[in-house]
Amino acid sequence: LLTSGKVSAQVIARVPELADALATIGTLHLVDVATDEVVASAAIVAQGGMREYQTLAVTLDVPGMAPRRLRVRVSTVGSAAWFLASLGLL
C-alpha cells in the first residue's frame, strides 16, 4: 500500500558483464494489484566495471490522491546477464 507521490526504490544487483559506463539493465514497475495497470515505471541503471553488488536507487512517481495497493515488477532489457539480490521501497 503506497501513498501517492515520489517513491524511492532500492535494487541490489550486480552486472559482471557490463563495461565501464552506466547502462540501463532493466525497468522497475509499480503495478496496480486490482487492475494490473502499470502506474509507474523507471529505469534501473547500473554502473559498469563492477563485479560486486551495487545498491541502485530508482525513483518512481505514484499518481493519484489515495493510497494504492501495488506490487513490484522487474523487467530486463536483455543487454547483459545480471543478478538481482533484493528489492526495497522507502
Binding site: 541490489i12 503495478v31 553488488y53 539480490a85
Partner: protein, 184 residues
C-alpha cells in the same frame, strides 16, 4: 492518537506452528475437561511448560521462521506497512505498545523480533527479499555475496516480467516460493 497493542503472535500472517500435542491431549475427554475444569486446565498448562517441547518450541519457531529475508517476515512487514499507511491517514500520532511473551528466564528470548518491530515502526526500507518473489524468468540460485544469500540470475534476453511480489502468500502455502526452489 492511535494505539497498536502488539503481541508476538501478530506476526503469524503465515502460521506453521510446531506440534504441541502431548500424549494426554489424545485422550477423548481432554478438551471437555480443559474447558470445564480450571484445575485440569492449570495442570495441563504447567506440565506442558515443564516438559521439553515435543517438536521445536514456539519461541524457536518464531525465531527460525520470522527473521529478515524470510517470506514469512516479509509478508508480515507488508501487512504492517499497509496498516501503518492507513493509520497515518487517521491519526497524527501513532503509538506501538509491545508486550513481552511471558514467562521467560534470563535474557528475553524474542528481543530480536522486538528490535525488528522497532525498526519497521520507524521510517525504513520495506524489504522484498528473494524468498518473497514469484519469478517468471531466470533462476534463483545461492549466492553468498548477496544480502539474503540468494540471487536471481536474470536472463540475457529481454523479458517483460522477471520478478513480481504478487500472490506470495498463496505460493508460500503451496511451497512454490522462489527461495524454496533455490534451496532444494
Amino acid at each position: 492518537v492511535l494505539l497498536y497493542q502488539w503481541y508476538v503472535n501478530d506476526i503469524e500472517v503465515i502460521a506453521d506452528r510446531p506440534n504441541e500435542t502431548r500424549i494426554w491431549h489424545r485422550w477423548s475427554g481432554h478438551e471437555r475437561l480443559r474447558r470445564t475444569s480450571f484445575l485440569y486446565y492449570f495442570l495441563d498448562h504447567r506440565v506442558n511448560a515443564l516438559l521439553p517441547a515435543p517438536d521445536h518450541s514456539y519461541v524457536d519457531y518464531l525465531l527460525q521462521d520470522f527473521h529478515l529475508g524470510t517470506a514469512e517476515w516479509s509478508e508480515f512487514e507488508r501487512y504492517f506497512h499497509a496498516f501503518a499507511v492507513r493509520a497515518a491517514e487517521v491519526a497524527r500520532r501513532r503509538v506501538l505498545l509491545m508486550y513481552p511473551q511471558v514467562p521467560f528466564r534470563g535474557e528475553y528470548p524474542l528481543r530480536a523480533l522486538h528490535d525488528l518491530m522497532k525498526t519497521i515502526a520507524a521510517p525504513h526500507i520495506l524489504t522484498i527479499p528473494p524468498a518473497a518473489w514469484i519469478t517468471s524468468a531466470g533462476h534463483i540460485e545461492a549466492d553468498t555475496a548477496a544480502p539474503w544469500s540468494l540471487a536471481l540470475r536474470v536472463p540475457r534476453e529481454p523479458t517483460a516480467t522477471c520478478v513480481e511480489n504478487t500472490r506470495v502468500l498463496a505460493h508460500i502455502r503451496k511451497g512454490e516460493r522462489a527461495g524454496d526452489r533455490a534451496r532444494t
